[in-house]
């Protein structure tokens, strides 16, 4: 039936402008969310690894809440529940905010593990050189622990990119919403799904390959 009229090329060329816009929106949301998740992960991961009172405990609660509730529920909370409390965001803000909050929780665990893997004697060496705690962190723990955390944090960023597809539920016109909306009108369902599969796999696979290249590049001298 629909298989007989399958024409991927016509679908792509007829809807090129919209699909490119959708892809750009996906990339924009991903970039905002990844940048935010990087900062949240670095700061809260450091607070956890250094057992900074209050911040450390609050971070643990934040991580458990995010890890143990579905991300769709989190999106619904931000999109439907926060307006009731007077916080109204546009779709773009909800999109990057929700995946950033999600990615930040996972990333703070990645960075905590990375910072905690830095041998204690390295930090002692920092003390011996007269560094204060902050200088030891920025000069010793961050560059070494950050590299240890890199593969797992890139995995989190890959999940962030994939999770932007969930913005379909709030109608934000990223790639998934765009492709599905076009296919709803033209009934080119298989073509739309093919485009989605190819583009997401290209994005995800490129990022996965980059992890392996980066890992080899940034491996610590002693583990090489």
């Amino acid at each position: 039936m629909l298989l007989a009229t399958y024409d991927l090329w016509a679908f792509v060329s007829d809807n090129q402008a919209e699909l490119v816009d959708g892809l750009l929106n996906t990339l924009k949301v991903s970039a905002f969310a990844i940048a935010g998740a990087f900062v949240i992960g670095g700061v809260l991961g450091a607070a956890r690894a250094h057992r900074i009172p209050v911040v450390s405990q609050l971070t643990a609660v934040y991580v458990e809440v995010i890890r143990n509730t579905p991300i769709l529920v989190q999106i619904f909370m931000i999109f439907y529940a926060l307006p009731q409390l007077g916080l109204v965001f546009d779709q773009f803000t909800v999109a990057w905010l929700s995946v950033m909050v999600w990615g930040g929780a996972f990333n703070s665990e990645n960075f905590r593990a990375g910072f905690e893997a830095v041998p204690y004697r390295y930090r002692e060496a920092g003390d011996a050189l007269g560094f204060n705690r902050f200088a030891t962190f920025t000069n010793v723990t961050l560059p070494i622990g950050g590299r240890i955390a890199l593969p797992s944090s890139i995995n989190t960023y890959i999940s962030v990119v994939k999770n932007t597809s969930l913005m379909y539920v709030i109608g934000y016109s990223e790639l998934t919403t765009t492709a599905l909306n076009i296919s709803n009108q033209s009934l080119e369902t298989l073509e739309a799904l093919t485009v989605l599969a190819v583009v997401y796999l290209a994005l995800v696979w490129t990022l996965s390959v980059s992890i392996r290249l980066l890992e080899a590049r940034l491996a610590l001298p002693e583990s090489r």
Binding site: P70, I71, K162
Partner: protein, 225 residues
Amino acid sequence: MPDWVEPVARYILQEGLPGTLRVSAAAVVGSALIGILFGTLMTIRFLPLQALIRLYVEVFRGLPILVTVFIAFFGLPSVSTRLEFDPLTAASIALVLWGSAQVAEATRGAVQSIPREQHEAASALGFGWGGRHSFVILPQALRRLLPPFVSLLVNIIQNSTLAGVIGGLEILDAGERQSERLTAIPPSGIGEIHAAEVFGGVAVLFFLISFPLTRLAAVLEKRLV
């Protein structure tokens, strides 16, 4: 407690929860069976088979699960009318495709972590490939698979909310329907917005299900490895 709470909670627990449990149970069992089979087959040194399973694993781990759900719900019926499924079944199929890819990868690692001597000892006792794997290798590998399995269960329960996106009645969808109903004018609704309470309740419900399981996964991880 206000009057509107009881019917909403009753609907979520009586209509939504069974949907979530159905999808999750089907997805966990399907993922385990297919994943363990594929993962074990991946350890056979036969390139075409390895390449084929590797492709399956990379595709379904790489795709956003929502896209896989759309493929199962909108894509399959366009290929053949016999492949038309209701939303809960379509979501279960998508979660099996995703989950089995995760399990296959974990099983491959677990099977390969069993020392070669175990294979040799089993062969010496006269076991063929099938007997060796089912009676000697897999029972040991499954022990190491237990912690990732519990994490998979948590992920599947949480991702069963994707069934709601295509109209399947599960916990989150039940909450959404109720929060929408409350905004309607009486008698069907009460003309008030209670999205924060309803979705907050849904979040608490998921937390109560997931939290013990993630703790269990962490404990198993420490004990068994």
